[in-house]
Amino acid sequence: MIHTLSVLLEDKPGALVRVCQLFARRGFNIESLAVGPTEREGVSCVTLRVNCDQQPLEQIEKQMHKLVNVLRVRELEPGESVERELALITIAAPPERRAELMALTDVFNARVVDIGPDTLVFEIVGEPEEVDSFEELVRPHGIRELVRAGRIGLRRPSRRTTPRLQRVLS
């Protein structure tokens, strides 16, 4: 099962490596990883997606809590968090196909950010599933290049849950 974890990290050299290494050690592939600053200076947020069972995940969460640079670990449960992802996609677009492709942008809240002689670069921001759908839809036109930023997420303040770890620690 795929889990999304949100990890608050002191912005110190090597801190990210220490987190990633815990996953690598157990042979878990990190499917997506996004790192960036937060509202607090010197604190980064790592959002990572990993495919593993519940029990080893809990083990890794507890191991992460033991890392000196880790301030908080939280699992973002589906339905209880807001998740977004950004993708940039270069699509083959000869002039006669452009109108058709541009029409998709309205439906998906995507934008055209660059136009070449026979390509368009789209930017799409949305729920990861929307980005997936957009990607599938434009695929038949010919994707020349695609990058996704990795999803980021926040827990919805409207839904409060008790982290499993709190239960273990208490």
């Binding site: 002191e10 050299p13 090597g14 490596v17 220490r18 290494q21 050690r25 809990e58 083990q59 507890k62 191991q63 809590h65 033991k66 890392l67 000196v68 640079n69 880790v70 301030l71 770890l165 273990v168 620690l169 208490s170």
Partner: protein
């Protein structure tokens, strides 16, 4: 002052008395600062691995943080084994390594090595110092992290230019580690539930691990055991945490534990794990381990809870407080009578004693029994061991009643640990008689540290249980690989261990007959100098009982006396063959 001076002033401020190390280019300024004056005693090892194990032995014997110095590159990589060892056995260790100058980092400079990167998975934390002003803060944090929560190793890597740079030194009073919050108290509700479970159990067992020693909680453990009349089984790492001549002590669990100890663990109805981690060498096949038991797990490290065996009642907190509270609550509960259970355990102990063969060459078990007899009742003897058959016999036959008197490499199983660990223990407890029970294979890995023992006036006694083999490997080859002995024969005679001891300026004895044994060991123990007893023992004696790796604990292989007509033959005839798993 310079960064190098700041390192020493920081260690002094932490109350460090002894450091173990070996100098080299990238740590020269720190060694120069040592030469200019410090209250620290520096013990010069002959190999950085030795320095690291000495620091471990020091930490285990004293309960303080061990400190090791090494230079960059190969000096630092030689520390990797002790760091990994300290990680597996939760030994508090601060390693200070020199690094190449800041501007050379990343250029493949001479003796450059990314030691922070290399050791990331085996340290609690590490620092590559980037500014000379950081030095006191980093060292303050390093000691704090090493000894709080679950103990373990940390590494501080300091580029040479920062050792030479100037700073205004002030040792901080506080650490600034917002992400480091080890538990400070066990939850009262969980402790109450644990007490209730223990009080209700008919067949409880305290399964005690090395965390108890690290937590300095041995007195509280004794209180708890006596409050509930609870039988105690101590792991290899916890040997000496509970007095072994106490009527409630029932041996050591696991692969080479006596049958009665494993019966206690596996037939109990409540297993109280105390700073123990359900290691595979203890449990055997996990799915078959203690099938009828519910589990109370007491540990400072939340990550150990339900890692391998689900805990019914977890208590996360410092064991000293947790065990103390638990004992008090248990007393108030009037626990059930464990008398019948204790009598059952005693009956098993009588029924399944440790056994080995008579006659033929000197038996290694006899060496350990003699050592135990010669030191019976003494509370000033500290044992260290290498890793292998001799280590298991030491576990089985030595009796330790006082905490921190049995120091061994458990988790990593580091051959060669014994001699340097003994030197470190001697530095911590100069008044104690420190004895390393070593194997001939182990001796050849770190034996050069005898020079350190002699020249630093840290006399230790090394008893080489010399079977001329990498004995434990030989045993596995005998039992699981149809007796094909592949590259395990070291020979009794090469090297001549007694001659080596003399070459280093120590005393030595060589014995191969039982009637010479006691006198040689007694003289070595009494001589007050660095001494080596080369005890040449039966080359193919096997260590029993044994739970084959991956087998259920109670499917152990036991010693079988050879049939009458085989008595004169070799020991091998009595070794059961086991299908490899």
């Amino acid at each position: 002052m310079t960064g190098a001076d700041a390192v020493l002033r920081s260690l002094e401020a932490e109350g460090v008395e002894v450091v173990f190390g070996l100098p080299g280019g990238a740590i020269l300024p720190i060694y120069d600062a040592l030469a200019r004056g410090s209250t620290l005693r520096h013990v010069l090892a002959r190999h950085e691995q030795g320095a690291g194990h000495m620091a471990e032995g020091y930490a285990r014997a004293s309960g303080s943080v061990g400190v090791a110095f090494a230079t960059s590159g190969p000096g630092a990589t030689n520390l990797v084994t002790p760091i990994a060892d300290a990680w597996m056995d939760s030994t508090p260790l601060v390693c200070v390594t020199g690094q190449v100058r800041s501007h050379l980092i990343g250029t493949d400079a001479f003796q450059e090595c990314d030691i922070v990167g290399l050791t990331t998975p085996i340290v609690k934390h590490s620092w590559l110092v980037q500014d000379v002003e950081e030095i006191p803060h980093v060292l303050k944090a390093a000691f704090h992290v090493a000894r709080t929560g679950r103990c373990g190793p940390v590494l501080v890597d300091i580029p040479r230019d920062l050792q030479e740079a100037e700073l205004d030194f002030r040792y901080p009073d506080e650490v600034d580690l917002p992400g480091w919050r080890p538990p400070t108290r066990g939850h009262p509700r969980q402790i109450a539930e644990a007490a209730r479970r223990i009080a209700d159990a008919e067949r409880p067992v305290l399964y005690v691990g090395g965390g108890t020693l690290n937590a300095d909680a041995c007195a509280e453990l004794l209180e708890l055991a006596e409050a509930g009349r609870l039988p105690v089984v101590t792991t290899l790492m916890a040997k000496s945490a509970f007095p072994e001549t106490h009527e409630l002590h029932f041996g050591w669990p696991g692969m080479h534990g006596p049958k009665w100890s494993n019966l206690a663990m596996n037939t109990c109805d409540l297993l109280v794990a105390v700073g123990a981690r359900f290691d595979d060498r203890v449990t055997g096949k996990l799915a078959a381990f203690a099938p009828g038991a519910s589990v109370v797990h007491l540990d400072i490290d939340a990550a150990e809870i339900s890692k391998l065996r689900r805990a019914d009642v977890p208590v996360v907190g410092p064991l000293k407080q947790v065990l103390g509270d638990l004992a008090a609550q248990l007393r108030a509960l009037s626990p059930s009578d464990t008398g019948p259970w204790l009598r059952q355990l005693e009956a098993w102990r009588d029924e399944f004693p440790l056994r080995y063969g008579d006659g033929g060459p000197l038996k290694p078990q006899r060496v350990l029994e003699t050592l135990s007899d010669l030191t019976a009742g003494r509370d000033d003897v500290i044992w260290t061991t290498g890793v292998g058959q001799h280590q298991m016999w030491a576990m089985q036959y030595l009796r330790c009643d006082v905490p921190r008197t049995f120091i061994t490499s458990g988790g990593l199983g580091t051959m060669g640990y014994g001699i340097p660990a003994a030197i470190g223990a001697k530095a911590a407890r100069p008044e104690a008689t420190v004895v390393c029970v070593d194997g001939d294979g182990c001796f050849q890995m770190t034996g050069q540290e005898l020079a350190t023992a002699v020249l630093e006036d840290l006399p230790i006694v090394t008893v080489v249980v010399n079977n001329g083999y990498l004995g434990m490997v030989q045993q596995w080859q005998t039992m699981f690989f149809e007796e094909r002995h592949s590259h395990v024969h070291l020979t009794h005679a090469v090297p001549d261990y007694a001659a080596i001891a003399r070459a280093y300026g120590g005393e030595s004895w060589t014995v191969s007959e039982e009637d010479e044994l006691e006198a040689a060991l007694a003289e070595a123990l009494a001589c007050g100098r660095t001494a080596v007893v080369d005890a040449r023992v039966d080359p193919l004696e096997q260590c029993f009982p044994m739970i084959p790796a991956g087998a259920a604990a109670l499917d152990m292989v036991e010693y079988e006396a050879p049939a009458e007509d085989e008595q004169q033959g070799q020991t091998l005839g009595s070794v059961p063959q086991v299908t490899a798993r």
